[in-house]
């Protein structure tokens, strides 16, 4: 349990869950485009949503428990304080958009094929899946900058 709650493992799990979430929603995008079978559609949406929930919980725990006291002062006192002021502040808040968006995509995938077509929502649900993946990627890039600022931005 001690290892599981250590900082490197928490960061690794936060990133790992995030990558699975991004991949799952990109896969969902492909399944939607090529009108895949119902089961893979549902599995990718469920896996993606659960992964983002996992990333949120683990990352949130790390952020609340360690980031503010250990990492933030290092970045703020280093060469790139903007990495916290802009990247971290934006990242931690736009992350909160993801779960409702992912759940909306998941609920859309629950619709039957004929409902999907009659509502004419295939393209917009594809765009929603792409938006979830894109937000995940942007958050990942911002997280990398924050980590890099803590690692190499020290005066």
């Amino acid at each position: 349990m001690e290892i599981l709650l250590s900082k490197p493992v928490l960061i690794g799990m936060h990133l790992g869950f995030g990558i699975i979430g991004i991949d799952a929603f990109l896969w969902l995008l492909g399944e939607l485009k090529y009108k895949g079978r119902k089961k893979p559609l549902l599995i990718t949406a469920v896996v993606g949503t659960l992964s983002f929930i996992g990333s949120w919980l683990v990352g949130g725990f790390y952020y609340v428990k360690f980031y503010g006291t250990l990492v933030k002062p290092v970045i703020k006192g280093g060469l790139a304080p903007w990495a916290h002021n802009i990247m971290m502040e934006t990242k931690e808040h736009i992350f909160l958009f993801i779960i409702p968006l992912a759940l909306t995509a998941l609920f859309a995938v629950l619709l039957k094929e004929d409902e999907f077509e009659s509502l004419n929502i295939r393209k917009v649900v594809m765009l929603l899946a792409a938006t979830v993946a894109a937000i995940g990627l942007v958050i990942g890039a911002m997280g990398f900058m924050v980590s890099a600022a803590a690692r190499w931005g020290v005066q």
Partner: protein
């Protein structure tokens, strides 16, 4: 089982829009109002945790409320709210990025 999946997608879209708007407004407001940030911190022990709990609360409350409301959902409405959700999410993300960039450089 869920009886009306079409209405579920509609309810989820509307409540997700409200949740995104809440995050954007409360984040900017709290940066400008120390009293609000203190209240958010006192609510759960950390301002971010409070924003998380309240944003999910808004989403799930909205999801149930809009699903249970006795309202007939036209076919075009589902698509319209899904589109609105994507646009508001993009604008919300850009607004937060612009706000924190301006805040960093002391523009406001």
């Amino acid at each position: 089982m869920i009886k009306n999946k079409q209405k579920l997608v509609y309810a989820s879209s509307v409540s997700a829009i409200l949740s995104v708007l809440y995050v954007v407004v409360v984040t900017i407001w709290a940066e400008k109002s120390p009293a609000l940030k203190t209240w958010l911190t006192d609510f759960s022990g950390h301002h971010w945790t409070s924003k998380s709990i309240i944003s999910l609360g808004i989403y799930f409350f909205g999801l149930i409320a809009f699903y249970l409301l006795p309202k007939q959902i036209e076919a075009g409405v589902v698509k319209r709210y899904l589109k609105a959700l994507i646009i508001i999410t993009a604008l919300g993300a850009l607004t937060l990025l612009a706000f924190f960039t301006g805040h960093n450089f002391g523009w406001f």
